[in-house]
């Protein structure tokens, strides 16, 4: 075996090194150093994230290893970098939570599990063979269940973990069922060979549709697409806030990229016959149902859960175009979504850590007691709703443009429905803004409070991203260039 193949996996190896350092630190170092594990993880991960951005470390072209099971390319590295940035912010946000009394003895595990799931996500994105993909998928899902249960003294947290693990296992089973059909149809598990077989021999439409339905349903659970979203709200509400934010941006983002890779690489040749309409239906359902349910939520974590369900629908719009422009738009959307959603979760988490309040009614008049937090939350809401000059506007505009670029009438209708839904979403995002800015202060209002330094740093990064990512065009140009437009 040619061991130089491992060089293609630079990012995975670096991540493992970071993981091992954190792990060893947690086990062997003196108590004094162990106590700093959160900061150490942040620093190590921050250095690693920065390193990955150096162009010298990137391959110029696509490279594959292990007889085509693993692939990396500039676009894939950029995807992983985007996830890294998100994880970095999540790590900073979790510092305060992880040093609370209930978590302090087991916070080492939190960071280790988090890095492990990220490793699984890397494999999902890079896999070009379904076996490796499943390994990545499982590595990414199972430790997450432990993270969801991290507040193990809280009933909701345990309940959420059980729900999460059951859905995760169930969805894996469905996915595997789909893969077995695909294997039966094509006799291979390599993505490109599957595509070749479909291309060459044609397809048995019914069997293929069934297989795809299973595959898409399996991924739909991970992405919480409607109708596979039922676990989302409960898990998001029950899990500790840093874990929720991790689930809602990183886990979802990586699943979106992996979904795109599977659909384009393995099933791209049967696009119009088999999965086009399934995807359209899923997108419309996801956006609409997610939005309609979000209107009724008063608990902000549940509210953000449903809002992230509908955001997943918008992310899917990047897949329908089937072109490099769609990939770039999707990457950009996920990047912006990471910053916006993490800003929202950052504020919710900061307030929850200080006062334990998560209901929208507790935010009444927040602007008068905590103007900066209220302002940050407003920016996050506007960015999620797609209001200029914040980044969310640009990402929505570009993803709609990329979806329409293929030009069929069905796509215009699809985008139109998505656009109508942005108005519904604006309504419930404005409800939060209304609570904070317009409603008067009452007895339940969050009092003037001090957020910790780490929370503020994370929020500042998010605010910079929300304001800067849209107006500063080189970011999107860079993504387009990497995707080969």
């Amino acid at each position: 075996m040619d061991y130089s193949q491992f060089l293609a996996m630079k990012q995975e190896i670096c991540l493992l090194v970071v993981f091992l350092l954190v792990f060893l630190n947690d086990i062997f170092m003196p108590k004094r150093v162990q106590a700093k594990i959160g900061v150490i993880t942040c620093v190590l991960f921050g250095v690693y994230t920065l390193l990955c951005f150096f162009p010298q470390l990137m391959p110029d072209d696509a490279e594959s290893a292990f007889s085509g099971m693993y692939e990396t390319s500039p676009a894939i590295i950029a995807i992983k970098n985007i996830l890294n940035v998100g994880v970095f912010i999540v790590l900073i946000q979790s510092l305060r939570w992880s040093s609370t009394d209930a978590q302090v003895i087991r916070r080492g595990e939190f960071y280790e599990l988090l890095l492990l799931t990220l490793f699984g996500m890397y494999l999902m994105i890079s896999a070009r063979h379904f076996l490796l993909f499943i390994i990545g998928l499982e590595t990414a899902s199972l430790p997450l269940a432990a993270m969801v249960a991290f507040d193990k003294n809280r009933y909701e947290s345990r309940e959420a973990a059980v729900k999460y693990i059951l859905t995760a296992v169930f969805s894996s089973a469905i996915f595997l069922m789909g893969i077995s059909y695909v294997y039966a149809l094509t006799g291979t598990l390599y993505f490109d060979q599957i595509a070749d077989v479909f291309n060459y021999y044609g397809t048995d439409a019914i069997l293929l549709s069934i297989a795809l339905a299973f595959v898409i349903a399996g991924m739909g659970f991970k992405l919480s697409l409607v109708p596979f979203h039922l676990w989302t709200a409960d898990v998001y509400q029950g899990a500790p806030t840093p874990v929720t934010s991790y689930l809602s941006v990183i886990s979802k983002g990586s699943a979106a990229f992996a979904f795109l890779v599977i659909l384009w690489q393995a099933f791209g040749t049967v696009y119009s016959q088999a999965w086009e309409w399934m995807l359209y239906a899923l997108i419309i359902l996801t956006i609409t149902v997610g939005n309609l349910f979000a209107i009724r939520q008063h608990n902000l974590k549940r509210f953000l859960a449903f809002s992230s369900v509908s955001q997943a629908g918008y992310i899917m719009l990047g897949i329908v175009s089937g072109e490099a422009m769609g990939l770039a738009a999707l990457m950009y959307y996920v990047l912006v979504y990471i910053f916006s959603n993490l800003a929202a979760f950052g504020v919710v988490g900061a307030i929850e850590n200080a006062t334990g309040k998560v209901s929208r009614d507790d935010y009444n008049g927040l602007y008068h007691t905590n103007p900066r937090l209220a302002f940050t939350m407003m920016l996050a809401m506007f960015s999620l709703a797609g209001i200029p000059p914040f980044a969310g506007f640009f990402s929505k505009f570009f993803i709609f443009t990329s979806a329409i670029s293929a030009g069929s009438v069905a796509l215009y209708v699809l985008v139109f429905i998505a656009l109508i839904n942005t108005i519904i979403s604006l309504y419930y995002y404005l409800l939060v803004v209304k609570a904070m800015f317009i409603k008067p202060v009452d007895d339940n209002t969050v009092p003037l409070m001090q957020s910790s330094c780490s929370e503020r740093v994370a929020l500042w990064i998010c605010v910079a991203g929300i304001i800067g990512l849209g107006i500063v065009s080189p970011v999107y140009d860079w993504l387009l260039q990497i995707c080969g437009c």
Binding site: Y412, F437, S473, Y476
Partner: protein
Amino acid sequence: MFSNILIYFVVIPLLMLAGLALCRNIKQIRTVAVVGSLALTALSVFLLIDYLALRAAGETAPMLYQGSWSWFAPLNINLAVGVDGISIAMLLLSSIILLTGSFASWKIDMPKEFFLWLVLLSTGVFGFFISIDLFTMFMFYEVALIPMYLLIGVWGSGNKNYSAMKLTLMLMGGSAFLMLGLIGIYFHSGPEGHETWNLLAIAENHSIEKGWQYFLFPMTFVGFGVLGAMFPFHTWSPDGHASAPTAVSMLHAGVLMKLGGYGCFRVAIYLMPEAAHDLAWIFLILTGISVVYGAFSACVQTDLKYINAYSSVSHCGLVLFAILMLNTTAMTGAIMQMLSHGLMTALFFALIGMIYGRTHTRDIRQMGGLMKILPYLAVCYVIAGMASLGLPGLSGFVAEMTIFIGSFEQGMMDYLSGAGSLRLVFTIIACCSIVITAVYILRVVGKLLLGPVQDEHHLTLTDASWWERTSTAVLIVCVAAIGCFPNFFEEIIRFTFSDKIFTVIGMN
């Protein structure tokens, strides 16, 4: 980039935002607001003079002061600016209303936040009028919409939560149509691989097929039409204007509603003339209904702001109505009407705000005889009313006259050439609105200003303070200026409708 004069219409508001963020007390805030809006007014007056000089020197390009800076290069998105007479007129209008609006909100609560949002709103407005790139235009358009929510929600009165939400959602609904329309225009804007967002280039290429125009024209026209208060999408306007604080009503009715008319002309009709020609009848009917229905509704309202808001629906309907005539005279009238209505309605809302601030009611049944108590404000109100019902010498007369002459011309031409009598019929119907306008204006003047004093508390009220006098006097001078020197204003916008442009649009 900074050598282009137009860019300062966005830079100055941004500097104002930064200045406001640093302000510590109300005096500084007022200073920043007034100095900034004075600078903007001076800039637009300078631009106007310079523009006229350039035109007099024989400059014939459709848009002057053009500049274009690449923004999102792979998608051909540029920050492209350029103005013609119409845009300059609109810039002048916006800066004057921002100036008077700042004076009108001299004593607002939480002034810092208020002016921050107000200036953000006007950044969007100015940016919209200088842009000739569809993407930046749309972006500025949306920037102008969202501060309204907080401005109405926080500083508004009455049923403000409902109105703010209704207004924001309806306008964003319009922009959903618009976004789809604009993306569609982009993908048909030129030969494959040479798509562009630039207005002039799209008009030059003229490559949107007729079938697509039939789809994209209604999208863009309705999108902008929502903001122009086109029936049946006008319902945000009465509620929104009634709940908004004074300066916001002024800016919104005075300037933002003009974005609708301007956009309908600049994007929908300019880029898709064939569809405009074929589909104009649908929108003529709708805007015709706006004109008459708005006027009738104003007759039965008892809240001063509702009366004025419905009158805005009627007058802005007239703008769209005139644009759809696709005829030079009517379009000139439409632009005049935009200017005239902007100034007049700002004056109205300023006065209503001042009266409401004193009497704490806007119900005309509970007020009376204010002429004796508040002579200055009452006289101003009468002048605004006269302008609204089209008294010669004031702006309303010039604008409406031009519109109706143009419409009648076009209607007769249609009729004589056998193209149907729809235009003629609707012109006659719309003409009725002049009479109805007189009814509701005179009714208000009679109830509010004349007759016995209804409430003895009103006897102790004081007349306008100096900042209120400044605000109203500036507006009255402008209204009278348009009325007395219509030729000068016609001169500014004439070139836009010269033969060369009209061959691009493809109409007579």
